[in-house]
């Protein structure tokens, strides 16, 4: 049961991110909420790769016969982090432009497109 703790923490992170998206009004806080969900999913991916007693998956100077932690989730996580950077950058750029137009970052006031 204690071994599942990393996964539980990841799900808590995702839940916190979702709560931020629903409850917070500032656009920057919404971007941070998406960032929380990204962190939760990335952590989940990395935690998946753990092998009990495993060493980092590097062949150089590796002790013989030791089990290695799975490297594929680490590659997947790197890709996901990069995609997260692009997504965050784009959202923040649009938040800046919205601020320049509207003078506010309140999601309740940025409502020109409704109905």
């Amino acid at each position: 049961m204690i071994g599942n703790l990393p996964f539980v923490v990841c799900m808590i992170l995702v839940a916190l991110g979702l709560w931020t998206l629903v409850a917070k009004r500032n656009l920057i806080k919404l971007v941070i909420g998406v960032g929380l969900i990204q962190n939760g999913v990335n952590l989940f991916l990395v935690a998946l790769g753990y092998v009990r007693g495993g060493i980092p998956p590097i062949y150089t100077l590796a002790p013989a016969g030791a089990p290695m932690v799975l490297p594929t989730p680490q590659a997947l996580t790197l890709t996901s982090i990069v995609i997260g950077v692009a997504t965050t950058a784009l959202m923040l750029a649009f938040a800046v432009v919205i601020y320049r137009h509207k003078g506010t970052l309140d999601a309740r006031k940025v409502r020109e497109l409704r109905g």
Binding site: L18, L21, V22, A23, K24, R25, L30, A107, R108, V110, R111, E112, L113, R114, G115
Partner: protein, 112 residues
Amino acid sequence: MRPEESIQLITGQGYWTPLLWMAAALGTLLLAFLFWSRGRRGYKRGTEQDLPFVSGEKVENPRLAATHLYWGFAEALRPVLRRLGAWHSGVVNDYAAWFVVILAVIFLLIMV
């Protein structure tokens, strides 16, 4: 495939070909032409006769924008439109909340 098959659509309960529609359309057009040919001859384009009818009033530059058309239709749907429009609030938090709701519904459906 044979030409007559390529214009057919066979559904489980019948089939459709555009030829049937063409025949019906031709008949309807003939009927419409018949009615039109028995109309009055005194209609002149570009005069007062083809201006939009705005309830019998004389309006300068009469032009009915789309917002005035189908008024009764929109009016009948007004309560529904108002309620639905309130949900399309434009606030991102509400949209994310709908996502969480659907996430919960789907989880309930799939796991239970």
